[in-house]
Symmetry: C2
């Protein structure tokens, strides 16, 4: 039942599917604002030099050129942003004097990646990010605040349950250093593949990178630890490694998961196999999977970065997470797992008795809209049966018949009652389309 998109990697939704997307985006926005986060949007383009400052993703960038660029112009080379973090860093430095820190912002926008489209990967997709950015310092308690904002948001969406997992770079790095693994980045990248390729293959990767069999076994033992309380630290320390960095990381991680589960039981699980490929995270890292849809990979990820940006004088540490909205939507719309209660916003169709009397129907519609009832007027003065069919095909629940007196029919039940456009209203659940999960 998955849609075929006319341009591979560029999803587009039918109007009734867009109702689901709108509901998701509005729910995210409302939740983020409920937590005091300010919405911003950044332009879609950045200078290529800015985009390339993270080398790893360079091949995914779409460059822009003007079809008829003339010699006289001297534009910087521009590319479409591939995430919302690089633009945030630039925005924060550029507007530092006009922002207040810690700066809590959410941002819901499309991003573009020129990579080969495949299952769950798009070339154009919507991300929803929340981050808090400090000036020079940023308290550790935000490492718990940010994933809880996302837990609140995700649990309100009409999607399967999402489990948020956290780890801490300092734990892995401190541990690897203590047991003598030298290629820390390589080890993190290998561990990151655990769910995809399994323990045996990861051990082989680690050994190929220069680790001994014993070191590989210890790294895998560390990656196997999960939990929601201080016992995770005991189990890590039972593996024998010790370092200041490891202990700092364990402190941070235990504080995070204990605090989160005290406030919202079951909200966040510590899972030491989470490594995150990107090298700019410096502390806590997050990943999340949708229960029953683990094949999609992480649908909400992020972490702590000690220096999101710097302007030479000041640094801007941050912590945040990003939801892959399009990835989640493509799944729940594709199966489908959700559906809207109707295909259009309209609650009432006002019938037209005769083309000469269209103005009468227009006035009824105006009166209903003035009281917040989404209303359209029948496009033709066809036989009533045909006008009712127009409403029925779209799922519009009510058809209004001007007359003396006017009457309104619930076309689901067939009930018809006399009504006055100045006073009648549908039950509140019929005002707007609602979004429901299919069992």
């Amino acid at each position: 039942m998955a849609r075929h998109f006319s341009l591979s990697g560029f999803p587009e939704w039918l109007p009734e599917q867009r109702l689901v997307e709108q509901h998701v985006l509005e729910t995210l926005q409302r939740t983020f604002e409920m937590h005091g986060f300010s919405g911003i949007e950044t332009r879609a383009v950045e200078p290529v030099s800015q985009l390339l400052s993270k080398g790893e993703t360079s091949k995914e960038i779409y460059l822009l050129s003007r079809l008829q660029a003339d010699q006289a112009t001297d534009d910087a080379e521009l590319g479409l942003h591939f995430d919302l973090t690089v633009p945030l860093a630039r925005y924060v430095v550029e507007n530092a004097g006009r922002l207040m820190f810690p700066f809590k912002r959410y941002q819901i926008q499309k991003v573009w990646r020129g990579e080969r489209p495949q299952d769950g990967r798009f070339r154009e997709f919507v991300q929803a990010d929340v981050d808090v950015v400090g000036q020079d310092t940023l308290s550790q308690h935000h490492d718990m605040e940010l994933p809880l904002v996302m837990v609140d948001a995700l649990s309100t969406l009409p999607i399967p349950r999402v489990i948020v997992r956290a780890s801490n770079r300092k734990v892995a790095q401190g541990f690897y250093e203590a047991i003598g693994i030298t290629d820390i980045e390589g080890a993190l990248r290998a561990i990151d593949k655990l769910d995809k390729i399994g323990e045996k293959a990861v051990a082989e990767l680690l050994v190929a990178d220069g680790a001994t069999g014993e070191q590989a076994a210890l790294a895998l033992a560390l990656a196997g630890i999960t939990g929601t309380d201080a016992s995770i630290a005991d189990r890590v320390l039972a593996l024998g490694a010790r370092s200041e960095l490891l202990e700092t990381g364990l402190d941070e991680l235990v504080t995070l998961v204990e605090g989160a589960n005290e406030l919202m039981p079951g909200s966040i699980v510590a899972d030491l196999k989470i490594a995150r490929g990107l090298d700019y995270y410096t502390g806590t890292v997050y990943e999340s999977t949708m229960v029953g849809h683990e094949d999609l990979g992480s649908v909400c990820s992020g972490g702590r970065y000690d220096s999101l940006a710097t302007d030479g004088k000041k640094t801007y540490p941050g912590v945040g997470l990003s939801i892959g909205v399009s990835r989640v939507l493509a799944r729940v719309l594709g199966q489908p797992l959700v559906e809207p209660s109707r295909k259009v916003p309209t609650a009432v169709l006002v019938a037209v008795l005769d083309e000469d009397k269209r103005r009468v129907s227009d006035r009824v519609a105006m009166a209903l809209r003035e009281r917040g009832i989404p209303t359209e007027v029948s496009p033709s003065a066809a036989k009533f049966g045909k006008q009712i069919r127009y409403a029925d095909r779209r799922g519009i629940p009510y058809v209004w018949f001007p007359g003396e007196p006017d009457s309104v029919k619930d076309i689901r039940s067939g009930d018809q009652v006399d009504a006055d456009p100045a006073t009648w209203a549908p039950p509140s659940e019929d005002l707007s389309p609602s979004i429901r999960m299919l069992s």
Copy 2:
């Protein structure tokens, strides 16, 4: 007071300005849905061949290329869309079997044009479009419906009054043909410059294009006619020209303005100097200016096109209008003419007495959010004076102090009362930031 944007032609707003933009976009969305229009979004890119099918704007297109495209890929050449009409035409043809006609859609998205940025012209900007598209036929009454949707939307926005003007291509074309002007397109383009260059210069243009002095004078006389009732037809016919096309156009225009002003007095003015540069309009055309800001040019324009698209078997006639949201916003934010009542969504800041007691404040915040009150917790356990200053700088109206009992202070009045997070609520006008026009 206009903002300088770090990349010329690419506007970005501060968080408090974005509150105004969000209010505008949400108001437009709500109004369009109140009239039964379905929201859609289309991908940002189209094949260049599609974009070039309207030759006139070719030089404004941004082309995409992948930074590290390999030979193996065989992608169609892509460009960023420069309006929302070309994508709509493609979307309608592509999804015709899954859409219901007449198809009423709104679409609020960014578009990109590679043109040289200047006053009120951007390279990236937001448009808000409403269109209704028929299959093979589309009733004339939609020519009145669509501008009234926009009148309803524009009058609800926190912006100066907008006057919507309408004309009809058939009137100008029929009139020009009847008086012997042969270069119809040239004459329309000349008349389109009337507000910018004045009558004398337009007459010279017309004569340079081959018109006689008398023909130029008649064309200018036609362009001088405005009104809101059937008298406009009388004044046109008094100029002596007659043709079937002219009379059809006058009928359509009089029906539109009489109907619109009967339903919503003062809503739409017929103004025969409106020509619209684009050659795909075939009947009614619309333009709108913001009172006191006529220098911005038209802020909401559109028209009727007998063939928005065709798939060989069927044609899709349409009528619609587009608001230049960024152009309007840049003006009202730049002056500024509007401001938000506070800079952040937060209604309540919960103070933290001591870093060890942060969890107590977290629980208060959760209880308030659960009842729909946007709340954040103070980022530091600094002295209360400093925490109150944090709220004050952002315009957060209330600061909550956990205690026995808890209390909440309105920092505008200084009033402080005992309060329970399970029952206290601010007045509804303090729940969210409101947007007000400055006098």
